[in-house]
Amino acid sequence: MSASLDQIFVSGKQWLLSWLASAPEWVIQIASSFINIFALLGVFLTLFALMSVLERKILGRIQNRYGPNRVGPFGLFQPIADGIKMLIKEDIVPARADKIVHFLAPVLIAATAILALGIIPYGRDMTPFTIDGGILFFFAVGSTTELAVFMAGWGSNNKFSMLGAMRAIAQMISYELPLIITVLPVVMVVGSLMPNTIVAAQGGYALGFVPRWFVFTPWGATAFILFFVSGLVESNRTPFDVPEGESEIVAGHMTEYSGFKYATFFMAEYIGMFAITGLATTLFLGGWHAPIRMLEFIPSYVWFFAKLSTLLLVYVWLRGTLPRTRVDQIMNFAWKFMLPMAFTCIVAAAVWHYAGRGPAGWLWSLAVIAAVYFTLSILLDTRRKFAPRTYRFAE
């Protein structure tokens, strides 16, 4: 019973494809791809609508107010009202803007964000797009976002747009480095770039009850935190939302966008967030594996989406809690702290592997990470950074 429930979507797709059994091979291949694409779009656009209203509700609770509660029960139909509003709004294109580039930027940014979702295993046998170098594909597609942001900033012919695009590209390029390097230990330990293999390697339990997720090893926990913070920066969210700092540069690269084009940027940001948390779940939190053996009867995709929603909740929580950081603080943090720690994770993973992947390796890799962490905090002199503020010009 639980096995058939686990495979309900896979068998549903098989049933749909059985209608085409007599068609030639390439028709079945294309139909299979289309089913995957529609399933992916349906699930994640619904999740986007749900997330946009839930985020506002949770932020409202954090800030001691109600949040949207007028449309439908508990304000749940708010996304529909927002969608209609966005659709019928006037689409304003500045007279001096580069029309083609201005139009193509939101298209490109949404397309790349959705492409990145394709390689993540959402459940047992539920990877929409199986490819040998899946992790590499994710980052290759993600690196295109920078060009799209630049097109938005340059095409608008507005200084706020350009400044926002510059800030966004600067922080995306800086944090792409720790983001990719923190993935390396996992790839090293598993010996594969395929998300399916990485999830399969995290199955089973150590000592009989601790799941073999990489987040439960010292290097995995460090890499997970670094990956999570870098992902937060890549999706341009608070506390790292300087590219669209509304108190300084209106809305950054989205200043000259209105109506549905603005909504497309908004959607791309959320989809990018789903993709990066989905990859974090796959790499460190065991993908679709259950945390306890007793709970394995619950279908795999339920576990995946439970982990994904937990990470998304942390994103919203951080947004409600932390103020915006300065540009130079973001850059210093990336190059002076994140990058050395990311390299340490590689060394710690190697130590863990060669010490036999057991309790001894666990302690040794913890020692490596602790040593580098304390050395860094002494070298960077973090204590002196919190001295009373001195003013050079405003005295």
């Binding site: 040998d132 170098g133 690196s143 060009l147």
Partner: protein, 160 residues
Amino acid sequence: MNSVAFIVIAIFTLAAGLAAATLQKLMHAALSFAVTFVGIAAFFFLLGAEFVGLVQVFVYIGAVAVLIVFTILLTRRDVEKDRMFNWSGVVIAIAVFGGLIWAILKTQSLSVAAPEIPALTVKRIGEVLMTNYVWPLQCVGLLLTAALVGALILVMEEKQ
């Protein structure tokens, strides 16, 4: 199936390349150049060289295209004004094209039937890079590190 895909990708890539060479605005040309990179990556995918295709997208669109675009942005000084047809460029282009065609047609291996190549997995590329080609890899790494340090020294503020 493959030849249809080849023709579609070829038309796409050539059109983007032509646009990059002829468009009036420099920024449009740079962006169509990025589209050409996508076309070349698609060729690698078609040939079954997944890894090379992904690295092509990663390096050329994520880094090189952004670099070109920024270079144009930071050095733009009315480049649209002094546009005149440059005949020496045409001559050099034709000479390079002719030289390449001559070299390709003279190649011996073209007349031999292509041997059956086993599927190129990322794992195999990694193994070969870490065993047979480890010295070239290290040299490239050293060169890139030197370039990085040099760039940093160039932009570093001089302390009085």
